[in-house]
């Protein structure tokens, strides 16, 4: 009888430990959900490079833009790609980048004046024909 009682106690702990895991898991899911529903500030940057810009120049720019995340942690997310629209409504622009911030302050007071961002902008200028920028808060 004492043995059964001991086994039951141990199994109770097994269930307890297991249910703790489940609770932690639910908490994680909840956090992900809350994060997904939070409003985010998108910063959409669209480039057309000069015809003289080499593939190496453009690749270097893309890598440098992507690398800003490592230096400026207020960049919550970064993605980019080449224009792929079959509609002819892109005014010749070819490269689209989307950065995500949590606040205008992060964008204006930390990202924009950051020395790494400023250096990137300077390195970019000789190769750019035109730029289009639009930012918005997600709804």
């Amino acid at each position: 009888m004492k043995q059964i009682s001991l086994v039951c106690t141990a199994l109770f702990f097994a269930c307890f430990i297991s249910s703790c895991g489940a609770e932690i898991k639910n908490k994680d899911s909840m956090e992900v959900e809350v994060k997904n529903e939070a409003k985010l500030l998108r910063h959409v940057v669209i480039f057309k490079f000069k015809d003289e810009a080499s593939e190496a120049d453009v690749n270097k720019i893309n890598d440098s833009f992507n690398a800003l995340r490592d230096h400026i942690p207020v960049i919550q997310d970064f993605e980019w790609g080449l224009n792929d629209s079959p509609e002819d409504l892109h005014q010749g622009f070819t490269h689209c980048y989307m950065l995500t911030f949590k606040s205008e302050e992060d964008r204006d007071s930390i990202y924009t004046p950051h020395p790494k961002h400023q250096a990137f902008v300077s390195s970019l200028q000789p190769h750019l024909e035109k730029v289009f920028v639009v930012d918005y808060w997600t709804k």
Copy 2:
């Protein structure tokens, strides 16, 4: 001695059950990670409305654009917002919408020709001054 052995066995099961939970959790995280890393097709649509377009016209358009998701399930995600960029590089455009698809086929063969989308485009035309569209695969 036998009791200690029984407790050890039960505790072994406790650890086993607990580690199973951890494994399942890791599998979930892995799936989330894989999903996040999957390439997505972004469809960025930017509008400037005519000065004559009333607030009611614009609100109706925003609601109709958002509602397309209910009718066209290949739209994986939809978000939009008003331009908020302090840089003057937006050419007067004011409304930015981002739709997400999983494939060019979903966009070109299902979304674009869909009667609900076509009706939306027709309802839009009288109020639009200009449109800018750029699509890209996320990297």
